[in-house]
């Protein structure tokens, strides 16, 4: 993934104000966040569906699904666990490890951009102050 795209993200996910009129659940909020999160890394390949979201105070999730050459649906889930001594990357079928270097840098940048975007676009707050945006 390009760092520039990671930094700039995409403007393709917008949630109009009227979407918040009904009773909403926490799950739905996270679903909306995940759509924004999925676009933080630039253009999603055609046929792919990507979500990146904050699950709770110590867990971030990257989920991606796509159709392979045989038409079968494939998916992968990567969990990033925040521990006191680092960020543990947990992926099925691969050894767990604490991310470092560029990968850690990219991850922190992604979470920061995620915070800025969901705070502004979903919760209509100023990411710097946390205060509601002036209507």
């Amino acid at each position: 993934m390009g760092l520039l795209k990671l930094l700039t993200g995409s403007d393709s996910v917008k949630f109009p104000r009227f979407m918040f009129t009904g009773k909403i659940t926490r799950r739905e909020l996270i679903q909306r966040e995940s759509e924004i999160g999925g676009h933080l890394f630039g253009q999603i390949p055609i046929g792919h569906h990507r979500q990146f979201f904050n699950l709770d105070r110590t867990t971030w999730v990257w989920y991606e699904e796509w159709r392979d050459e045989d038409g079968e649906m494939q998916n992968t889930t990567t969990r990033y666990e925040i521990h006191k001594n680092g960020v543990l990357k947990v992926q099925e079928g691969t050894p767990y490890y604490y991310i470092e270097g560029q990968e850690l840098d990219n991850f922190v940048t992604a979470t920061r951009t995620y915070y800025d975007r969901v705070t502004h676009d979903i919760y209509r707050r100023d990411p710097s102050t946390g205060q509601p945006l002036a209507v």
Binding site: F20, I24, T25, R26, L29, I30, E33, N54, D56, R57, T58, I82, H83, K84, N85, G86, V87, Y98, L104, V108, T111, R112, Y115, V118, T119, I122, Y123, R124, R125, G130, P132
Partner: protein, 108 residues
């Protein structure tokens, strides 16, 4: 030419026993040419050892310079940085959660 037979310059390359190369015998059995050939080989081995020694020195000096210009954090410093990153990420998540709760409570 080194006189000490245990000098590493006399080690036969690839000899795992690290047996010293036999000293030259300039006696009658060796022709002058053959002796000269062996002498050159030893000189070359000697230079190789010197080169290797210089390479190790330069490599060490280069590492020292890198440590000066681009110091690597100690394990303790890395642990501290990781802790800071962890605190930052947790606080960020706490803020997001607080916005969720406000939204759910309708006091956004």
């Amino acid at each position: 030419m080194p006189s000490n037979p245990t000098n590493t310059a006399f080690m036969i390359p690839g000899n795992t026993d690290k047996q010293p190369r036999q000293n030259f015998n300039f006696g009658s059995n060796l022709t002058h040419e053959y002796a000269n050939l062996q002498f050159k080989e030893v000189i070359n081995n000697n230079f190789s050892t010197q080169d290797e020694s210089r390479s190790i020195q330069i490599s060490t000096q280069r590492n020292n310079l890198e440590a000066i210009f681009n110091p690597k954090p100690s394990a303790e410093q890395i642990a501290k940085m990781m802790e800071q990153i962890s605190i930052y990420l947790t606080q960020e998540a706490d803020l997001i959660e607080s916005y969720r709760i406000k939204q759910l409570n309708g006091d956004a």
